[in-house]
């Protein structure tokens, strides 16, 4: 990058699609407005969440040091980026990687961002995202620009929106799939990203694509998602027709639900309109006030699947065929991801450990002559330096065939079998050649108390401990035992997917005397089979420090008692949880503090344990109306316009453009108010103008004793001129009038919703 550029905004101006650039500029403006106290903290919180900028532990400005809770003296104490969230506190950036597909170039830019804005570590999540921690929010606009320049968006990575669309990482090479779901997952992502019908949810909405119904590996995990698509092919009049089994209302969390079937076969052409219809029903009828009941699974439970289907189909009829759904749904499979020929002759001598690695990390796809390899990442982490070396491997041996997996690893696909040793050697050199991928040693964890505001116990600390203890033994274990999955969450919300682990843990706390002791609830009997349709149940809590021994004991019983071919889940069912609990009973006790104080300190920590650091989570986001979003966007636009007219160096054309931007701000604010009455209002200015006049002026709603009349005239004048100004003075006046109109719109909205925040 040339040093002649003074900012990333300038440097990447011609590399970012204009709409993405504008969104990022808007977010940067909103941040400035928040700093100036001109944007409500709750609104800004949801705006930043929808850009993937999440809060992190201790961002309320308090931290327990093992003895007492200390105030953290952030420089701008009291300036917040959300309720009880200090602006200066570091946060987490979640970056969506749709169905895990990532190019070498994208991975390199992620590595750069990790180094410059985080601590040099990339974390792969259980929903195929990438997360960076300890990020200063003021760095996020530049980070978003750098990501956008290589086609990555963070939009709607958090908040009450459609989260990352996940998909089976083996799609296209799987030996069991009906067809490659990749292009369909991609179409779904592109269709719903920023779609107006997904902006007014009471909670988040997660979508997953699976390639096969008999999903023994559980790669797609459709049954644990709000909306799941499972690929299927049927024959009609002798012709094979692609479609999906559609399931809805699944989800983990404290109250897990297995998704229910909405359609046993939905033709692919109906995939997007039905998704949109479901979104509309959820936005209209889903709970908004009580976040604990706001996921669609509760709506499905309340209405019943038949009534939901009736409502969805009514919406589908109303949608008609106005959209270009068929253009978005691809006719062909994903592009070629392999090189024309191997790079090596296959005679390279392997680095140490190749045989063990090959045993656990190499997948044989259905295409002859190729292999896919799992890059086993401890707890989903790799360094920026490793990421660059991985990108080099991907670029050298494939045509960008890389996916993140929901088991927090990478999958390199489409490697010529002849290059397998060379790939291993390169990974080995980069310290990425760890064996044991997806075995019992490959423990899945959420961030837990390391960084999550909701964490109760150290899931990563326990995960690291289990990984260390089990790694050496994993390869010696019986294959069936070796494939037992351990999944750890720091709290009941199940980001570590404890419900679908053979052995799951989630963090909890117990009082012992006058002390708190970190514990983990033991969950047994979950499974990835049938697209993650089997959830385990809790059998009791063990002290955190006894969780490894608990795993050892369970494996010991399973190894000695299992019948031929019996899975862990089947063994749990056969033996019974009551019996298993009795066998673990002695591990559920806690020695006194005098006897063993180590029980009162969590894994990989040095402080005496407390639950005083638990904060308010942001998973649920803030319930902010469409009107509030529009007003915030209008604020951002008028802020931009004011910068243009204040710039003494600006050309006449630039200043006149400010008038057009100001007009756009008025239209956006007016549209926001109309949305309170008609969520489907178009964005075309004349349509907005007429709807606003009809709903808010003719009815007198916008006109108040003190404000409204003049501001309506400002709208009329700007609309008559279509935003054009004669000269610099008029442009400046138009900007000021736009600001006044937006203020009046805020006042009007307050009158409409006196209880609203």
């Amino acid at each position: 990058m040339s040093k002649d550029y003074s900012s990333w905004r300038e440097a990447l101006a011609d590399k970012i699609p204009p709409s993405m650039a504008e969104e990022i500029d808007d977010f940067e403006n909103q941040m400035e407005l928040r700093k100036a106290g001109k944007l409500e903290e709750k609104v800004f919180a949801e705006l930043r969440l929808r850009r993937g900028a999440y809060g992190q532990r201790y961002d309320n400005g308090k931290r327990h040091d093992g003895f007492r809770t200390q105030e953290i003296p952030f420089p701008r104490r009291g300036l917040t980026k959300g309720p009880e969230t200090e602006f200066d506190a570091p946060g987490m950036q979640r970056i969506k990687i749709p169905f895990g597909k990532l190019s070498a170039e994208q991975l390199e830019v992620l590595a750069e961002c990790a180094e410059e804005y985080s601590n040099g570590v990339l974390h792969i999540t259980t929903r195929q995202d990438v997360q960076l921690h300890f990020v200063d929010i003021e760095d996020t606009p530049d980070m978003h620009r750098r990501l956008a320049a290589v086609g990555i968006t963070t939009r709607e990575a958090c908040g009450n929106s459609v989260r990352n669309v996940t998909g089976c990482p083996y799609a296209g090479i799987c030996r069991h799939e009906a067809f490659d779901i990749s292009p369909y997952a991609d179409a779904e992502m592109r269709f719903l990203l920023g779609h107006r019908d997904v902006q007014d949810f009471g909670r988040k909405f997660k979508i997953a694509y699976s390639g096969c119904a008999e999903d023994a590996l559980g790669c797609g995990r459709a049954m644990m998602h709000d909306l799941g698509f499972v690929a299927a092919v049927r024959t009609v009049d002798g012709r094979a027709e692609r479609g999906f089994r559609v399931v809805v209302g699944g989800g983990l969390g404290p109250v897990p639900h297995v998704a229910k079937e909405l359609y046993d076969f939905l033709p692919v052409a109906e995939m997007l309109p039905i998704s949109q219809a479901i979104a509309r029903v959820y936005a209209r009828l889903g709970e908004k006030r009580n976040r604990n009941k706001a996921r669609i699974k509760f709506l499905v439970a309340q209405l019943g699947i038949d009534e939901l289907k009736r409502l969805v189909e009514a919406e589908r009829v109303a949608l008609g065929s106005e959209y270009s759904w068929n253009e978005l749904v691809p006719a062909a499979d994903a592009g070629q991801e392999f090189l024309a020929a191997p790079i090596t002759d296959g005679r390279t001598a392997p680095a140490p450990g190749f045989a063990e690695w090959q045993q656990t990390n190499v997948y044989t796809p259905r295409q002859e002559g190729f292999v896919a390899v799992l890059v086993n990442l401890p707890l989903g982490d790799l360094t920026a330096r490793q990421a660059r070396r991985l990108a080099h491997v991907v670029r050298t041996y494939t045509a960008d065939a890389l996916r993140t997996t929901a088991d927090q690893n990478f999958l390199i696909r489409w490697i010529h079998r002849a290059d397998l040793v060379a790939v291993y050697n390169a990974l080995f050199d980069a310290k990425l050649g760890l064996n044991g991928a997806t075995t019992i040693a490959d423990v899945t964890t959420c961030p837990g108390t390391d960084t999550c505001k909701l964490g109760i116990a150290s899931s990563r600390g326990l995960g690291a401990e289990l990984r260390q203890r089990l790694s050496d033994r994993a390869l010696q274990l019986d294959p069936v035992v070796k494939d037992v999955h351990v999944r750890v969450s720091g709290c009941p919300n199940s980001c570590g997917l404890h419900h679908i682990g053979d052995i799951g843990f989630y963090g909890s706390s117990r009082n012992v005397g006058s002390y708190k002791v970190p514990h983990f609830q033991v969950i047994l009997g979950g499974s990835l089979e049938d697209n993650a349709a089997h959830y385990g149940l809790a059998i009791g809590a063990v002290p955190s420090k006894r969780a490894p021994e608990t795993v050892d004991r369970l494996l010991g019983y399973y190894s000695s008692e299992r019948t031929d071919g019996e899975s862990f889940r089947d063994w749990v069912v056969r033996i019974g949880k009551k019996t298993i609990k009795e066998r673990l009973q002695d591990l559920m006790t806690v020695p006194s503090h005098d006897e063993d104080p180590s029980f009162y300190v969590d894994w990989h920590d040095a402080r005496e344990y407390t639950i005083g650091d638990i904060g308010v989570g942001e998973c649920a986001g803030e319930v902010v109306s469409l009107t509030q979003f529009s007003l915030a966007t209008a604020e951002s636009k008028v802020f931009d316009a004011s910068l243009m007219v204040d710039d003494e160096q600006a050309t006449d054309e630039e200043v006149l453009n400010a008038s057009r931007v100001a007009y756009g701000a008025i239209v956006t604010a007016a549209q926001g108010l109309v949305k309170a009455r008609d969520p489907d209002i178009a964005s075309e200015p004349t349509a907005v103008f007429e709807a606003f006049k009809r709903n808010f002026v003719d009815t007198g709603v916008f006109l108040d004793r003190f404000v409204g009349t003049s501001e309506w005239q400002y709208f009329q004048a700007a609309h008559d001129a279509r935003g054009e100004a004669k000269d610099r003075d008029e442009a400046r006046r138009r900007v000021e009038e736009a600001q006044l109109f937006i203020e009046a719109a805020h006042a009007c909205y307050s009158r409409l919703t006196p209880a609203a925040v």
Binding site: M1, S2, K3, Y5, S7, W8, A11, R57, Y58, R63, D65, G66, F67, Q70, I72, P73, F74, P75, D88, A89, P90, E108, A111, E112, E115, E116, N119, G120, V121, H133, F134, D136, P378, L379, D381, L382, T383, A384, R385, Q386, R388, R389, A391, K431, L434, D450, T451, R460, G461, A464, R467, Q468, H604, D605, A606, R607
Partner: protein, 196 residues
């Protein structure tokens, strides 16, 4: 080549920076540093605002145990394959980058002194005669020859403030072009000139 004592220029050539000094003993266990870092947070040691401890010891050749600060973080780092103490300036410098870099190096040496003292372990020694400095800002100092020409005088001037009477060698550290622009400062015998 002799560096001029007042190289000038390069004032906008540095936004954020990392600096690392190495330990000759590579087999030190990271776990002992966790309680030390927590204690430093509790006692508000080192002068800056310290926030939290992050444990990445499970990552091979990773940042190890990280003491996260508001402006500056410290870690027992192995990410370049060698064990050492790394300081990361998390926020861009405001004002003269030479001041910023010099203060970052001072923070590194203060932390090294405190660590050697608090670790209570004769094995932990950090070599202050070789400092790896990486510009952590690809916009202002890209990993190019031009970037090095901009960065070198800043590094030389900042290092001179800390080692006024030593011979200093500032040389570019070859690395992956996608990596950060890196230089090594070699602190040699006491002298009144700076070499590179």
């Amino acid at each position: 080549m002799l560096l001029p004592t007042d190289p000038g220029g390069g004032m906008i050539g540095l936004g954020r920076v990392c600096a690392k000094i190495y330990s000759p003993e590579p087999a030190i266990s990271d776990e002992r540093f966790v309680p030390i870092f927590h204690r430093w947070i509790r006692r508000r040691a080192l002068g800056g605002l310290l926030l939290d401890v992050a444990d990445y010891t499970h990552v091979p050749e990773g940042p190890g145990v990280v003491l996260v600060g508001h402006d500056t973080s410290f870690s027992l780092d192995r990410s370049d394959g060698r064990f050492g103490l790394l300081v990361q300036r998390r926020r861009p410098f405001v004002g003269d980058p030479v001041d910023g870099l010099a203060s970052t190096l001072e923070a590194l040496f203060s932390a090294a002194d405190a660590l050697e003292r608090d670790a209570d372990d004769a094995e932990l020694r950090l070599d202050r005669t070789r400092i790896r400095i990486e510009s952590n800002d690809r916009l202002r100092s890209p990993n190019t020859d031009e970037g090095f020409l901009t960065l070198r005088p800043i590094v030389a001037r900042a290092a001179k403030r800390l080692f006024a009477n030593h011979e200093l060698v500032v040389e570019r550290a070859p690395n992956d072009p996608g990596g950060r622009l890196a230089v090594d400062v070699l602190v040699r015998a006491e002298s009144s000139v700076i070499k590179c």
